[in-house]
């Protein structure tokens, strides 16, 4: 077994784990650099090199493999600052992403707002074409409509295009032909996400949502990963760079743009997979992993050494991701979550104190208690609950 480095870029810290050829494990960490995460990664690698008294180039040249978990996809969805994205879709089915099969997260609240749009209605272009459930052509692809649609999306400023035609997972011919036309009409498009490649199955809402998220996050991730790979190559690293996926597996950088969506929860998934490996070596097969950050608390159930893999109902940032994901449940109750009393009920999170000024127990001017503190400080008193007979 050669030497390996695992790198997890979190919201606050970039964590590194170095495994030497004889199995020794060295841990290190450095602050995350949000503007360009690769800066922090290279700083961390430099720190590791220093520990062994070698130069960064010598250290990297000696590495056999680098595995990387990144929050880039999650940050893109949190900030909704992905690539301007358009959608080409079967005529008559332009609104699937808004209809959401009728689902709303809050069933009791008529004023609950919609999710932030990835492609507004004007950027969702209806294309005359239709296949039936067996993939037979009921209506041929209107190629001129595809050309006009691509030009309209360019005018609107789109940089990335998702293509979702009904039953394309049975017969991808129309989506493939549309991709050819997009490349002719828009040679410098940043990403083309074809639904039958991103999620080769029905139904269309799930596939549309997954494909749109892919198109939206792919350019930023692809450029980050390419950039990181170049930096690593420049140091003399010759081995493979592998990116952690939410399925629990890894993928090479040139696969990222086609399946960028699987990088959501890349970091927490790496933590679960590592925990499962470590616990298994320690002879523990059934356990719960817990990862407490500043704003969230991530939990995963592991049974028989295997983390739970969830194959449906994976919602992330109010979009449906129709691909298998390690079932990391995230609650908005991390170390910095604010505790409060609302109409007599004690609630924790999801609002977080952050690190400046932080919760009251930091003593830096914060006034509100964070999650573990109510039991220790008297910032709140237990609410009165009416009893029968009162």
């Amino acid at each position: 077994m050669g030497t390996r480095v695992g790198i997890d870029v979190g919201g606050t810290f970039t964590d590194l784990i170095y495994v030497t050829s004889d199995g020794e494990v060295v841990l290190d960490k450095t602050p995350t650099t949000p503007d360009d995460q690769s800066t922090g990664v290279m700083t961390g690698l430099g720190q590791l090199a220093d520990r062994f008294g070698v130069s960064l180039s010598e250290f990297c040249a000696g590495l056999d493999i680098v595995v990387h978990g990144t929050t880039t996809a999650d940050n893109t969805m949190i900030e909704m600052n992905g690539s301007p994205t358009g959608l080409l879709t079967t005529k008559g089915h332009r609104d699937e992403i808004e209809l959401r099969r009728g689902f709303k997260e809050q069933i009791w609240d008529p004023a609950f707002p919609p999710p932030s749009p990835i492609a507004r209605r004007r950027a969702r272009i209806a294309i005359p074409e239709r296949l039936d459930f067996e993939g037979e052509v009921v209506q041929p692809l209107d190629e001129d409509a595809v050309r006009r649609g691509v030009q309209r999306l360019r005018t609107l400023g789109a940089r990335s295009i998702a293509v979702v035609f009904l039953f394309s997972f049975v017969n991808p011919a129309h989506e493939r032909r549309a991709a050819e036309i997009i490349r002719e009409e828009f040679p410098d498009v940043e990403n083309i996400s074809l639904s039958h490649e991103v999620m080769p199955r029905g139904p269309e809402f799930e596939r549309t949502s997954t494909t749109l998220v892919n198109a939206y996050v792919a350019p930023r991730i692809a450029s980050y990963v390419t950039h990181l790979q170049e930096k690593l190559r420049a140091t003399g690293f010759g081995g493979p760079l592998l990116i952690m996926q939410s399925t629990g597996g890894v993928m090479p950088p040139d696969y990222v743009s086609r399946r960028a969506v699987t990088l959501l929860a890349s970091g927490p998934t790496g933590g679960v997979m590592g925990s499962a490996l470590a616990a298994s070596r320690a002879g523990v097969s059934d356990f719960v992993t817990m990862d407490m950050g500043g704003t969230s608390f991530d939990v995963c159930l592991v049974r028989d050494d295997k983390p739970e893999i969830k194959t449906d109902w994976n919602w992330r940032y109010r979009y449906y991701i129709g691909l298998p994901m390690v079932d990391v449940e995230s609650v908005g109750a991390g170390g910095g979550s604010i505790a409060r009393v609302s109409q007599g009920t004690l609630l924790v999170g999801p609002e977080s104190a952050g690190s400046q000024p932080g919760p009251v127990c930091y003593g830096r001017g914060g006034t509100r208690p964070r999650s573990p503190t109510p039991t220790r400080c008297s910032a709140i008193s237990p609410p009165k609950v009416s009893q029968p007979g009162e």
């Binding site: 008559g92 039936d132 309209r152 237990p382 029968p388």
Partner: protein, 605 residues
């Protein structure tokens, strides 16, 4: 055998004799109950055999206490979910001491507390320390109920017996053993091949809920759980009353209408008076239509839950949903009116109309005191459009309930345009898509996009309805009932109504059938199409107060046309939508809005 429904609806005693529980433990128990409800509902989705349950999620779980009070509800459709308490109460009174661990009960009869026959209530008791403490309840809409018409909706039959098999209450499992004789009798009275699979999914969910609740009781003890249930019901009642106390005292009335019943009797009238008196709220439907020859009857249980679910939507969404709402609302529904029918009236379509008009009327009345969230959480469809034929792929006959994605009737609230597909109170339904239903049924869905200009104009715009075109690939027959053509969904606080419905069967052929009230097995040939323009949601607030930039965005997104922007919002645009060069003519907009404001003075007086 008959039940006194109003007596069943009256408040039930608390559980504990004054035991106390700390608020954190109570909250943990409440959270566990909501999680158990969720697990029961998911269990049905994963094990049921027909699409209405395993795809569309038309199932609701709730936890009740031994007296039939809601302790917790979780996912589901509120106005259905909240109709499961009266059947449980009837069962508790009917069986008395003859309720044992391992029993599972079934009830669906609207004259014993149910909503309508397709909604099966299945529930199991939970015992601890020698006494019955809780009841785990799961409710599912079944695709058939027996009777003379497939699909569970016989909208023209003259009485409830013609609608299908009535079950006041019976045991489907007795002390852990499935009653084979009972299940076989039920199955013999049902057309659906998947019926028993669905029923067993429901029974399994009730067993699962009972087992999980048993674990909670074991962990915390019966005394603590009972005190917790009392405390959170009490807390909800208190929080609800705090909101009511902020509303000005007075009586607020509303009148709404259903276009017609399936026999074309016109203008079915719902009248409500909501009286706020300090922290007390009375909802009184006296004055509602009671013509005996009508064919539109909402069962008492259905009326009661539509009232509570609409009021829950108007008050803070943070208030936990439980019996506290029912205990805090005084409900008056005169017997014999369409919202509390005389014994034996048919009610299958009444859960829809005049059922949804209950919510609409309550929303319009309370919009006078709490307009921000007084959005009718309803729809105006009639009944689902049912297509029946023989599928050449299987040689079997099919019943397509058209339970597919189509937008409609979703109103705006203050600060939020109508969005998605339907109102929040249907948020748990998970509608089938083209790729699902075209694999099951021999049809093609050509269109179901939003229909431009169909959303009710307002400062916040109602959601557009769908333009829905479906082609049958085999000969079939269509059965339906359509309303919302004369009386569409209203706007709130000066908002305008959504566009009306229009359904055309055999659209585009030389023999189109425009549905005036019902379609009684209208035949279609292979290749013919139905076109359903679904109604829009109502607007909120004066459309002349809508931000012109939001109107421009709506035009770019084709929710609103250039003409609609001028006509409905007083916003004048220059440039071309096609060329993406639209811009607001601010001066012309200001002038037009001024003229429109002047013209509307006195409107409605």
């Amino acid at each position: 055998m008959r039940a006194d429904l109003e007596a069943l609806g009256r408040p039930r005693p608390q559980l504990s004799g004054g035991a106390s529980v700390d608020p954190v433990t109570a909250e943990v128990i409440r959270g566990a109950m909501e999680t158990i409800s969720f697990e029961m509902a998911v269990y049905v989705s994963r094990t049921a055999t027909t699409p209405i349950l395993n795809q569309s999620n038309e199932r609701n779980a709730s936890i009740l206490d031994r007296n039939g009070r809601y302790a917790a509800v979780s996912v589901g459709v509120p106005q259905l979910m909240l109709s499961s308490s009266l059947p449980v109460r009837f069962a508790v009174e009917y069986y008395g001491d003859d309720i044992h661990p391992g029993d599972v009960f079934l009830a669906n009869d609207p004259y014993h507390g149910g909503g309508h026959l397709p909604d099966y209530n299945v529930f199991a008791p939970v015992f601890a320390e020698g006494r019955r403490v809780l009841m785990a309840s799961i409710q599912c809409h079944h695709g058939d109920t027996g009777g003379s018409v497939p699909g569970g909706y016989n909208v023209t039959v003259k009485d409830v017996w013609g609608e299908g098999l009535r079950v006041p209450v019976m045991k489907v499992s007795d002390r852990g053993s499935e009653r084979r004789d009972v299940l076989d009798m039920l199955a013999a009275n049902n057309r659906s091949a998947g019926y028993l699979g669905d029923l067993r999914a429901q029974m399994g969910a009730a067993d699962l809920g009972a087992a999980r609740l048993g674990e909670i009781l074991e962990r915390f003890g019966a005394d603590t759980v009972e005190a917790a249930v009392d405390s959170f019901i009490d807390s909800t009642k208190r929080r609800f009353r705090e909101e009511v106390a902020r509303w000005p005292d007075g009586t607020y009335e509303a009148d709404v209408f259903v276009d017609h019943d399936p026999w074309a009797n016109p203008d079915i009238h719902i009248h409500v008076a909501a009286t706020v008196d300090g922290d007390r709220l009375k909802i009184d439907f006296t004055g509602t239509d009671s013509r005996d020859d009508l064919q539109a009857w909402s069962s008492y249980g259905n009326t009661r839950c539509y009232t509570a679910s609409q009021i829950a939507a108007i008050t803070s969404p943070e208030i936990p949903k439980n019996e506290g709402f029912f205990e805090a609302i005084e409900l008056v529904v005169p017997e014999g009116c369409v919202l509390n029918p005389a014994f034996g009236k048919p009610v299958s379509a009444g859960t829809h109309h005049p059922g949804t008009e209950v919510g609409e009327a309550v929303a319009l009345a309370l919009a006078q005191v709490a307009p921000e969230r007084a959005v009718p959480q309803v729809y105006k469809t009639g009944i689902p459009t049912i297509m029946v034929g023989k599928d050449p792929r299987t040689g079997e006959s099919f019943t397509d309930h058209s339970a597919e994605v189509h937008a409609g009737y979703c109103g705006a609230a203050k600060g939020v345009d109508g969005w998605g597909m339907q109102n929040a109170s249907f948020g748990n339904l998970w509608k089938a898509t083209s790729e699902i239903n075209e694999s099951i049924f021999p049809s093609i869905q050509w269109e179901r996009d939003y229909r431009t200009d169909s959303g009710g104009p307002g400062q916040w715009r109602g959601l557009c309805g769908a333009h829905y075109v479906k082609e049958t690939r085999v000969p079939c027959k269509v059965y339906t009932y359509v309303v919302g053509m004369k009386y569409p969904i209203p706007g709130i606080a000066g908002g305008k109504p959504g566009a009306p419905n229009k359904l055309t069967i055999r659209d585009g052929s030389d023999d189109p059938f425009v549905v005036a009230h019902t379609a009684d097995w209208v035949p279609m040939e292979a290749g013919q199409r139905t076109c359903y323009d679904y109604g829009g949601g109502g607007g909120w607030g004066d459309p002349l107060d809508r931000d012109p930039q939001a109107v421009l965005d709506d035009v770019l997104d084709e929710y609103v046309s250039v003409e609609g922007a001028e006509r409905d919002y007083g916003v004048v645009l220059t440039g071309s939508l096609e060329e993406l060069t639209l811009a607001i003519d601010e001066k012309a907009t200001e002038e037009l809005r001024e003229r429109q404001r002047a013209a509307s003075v006195g409107e409605g007086l």
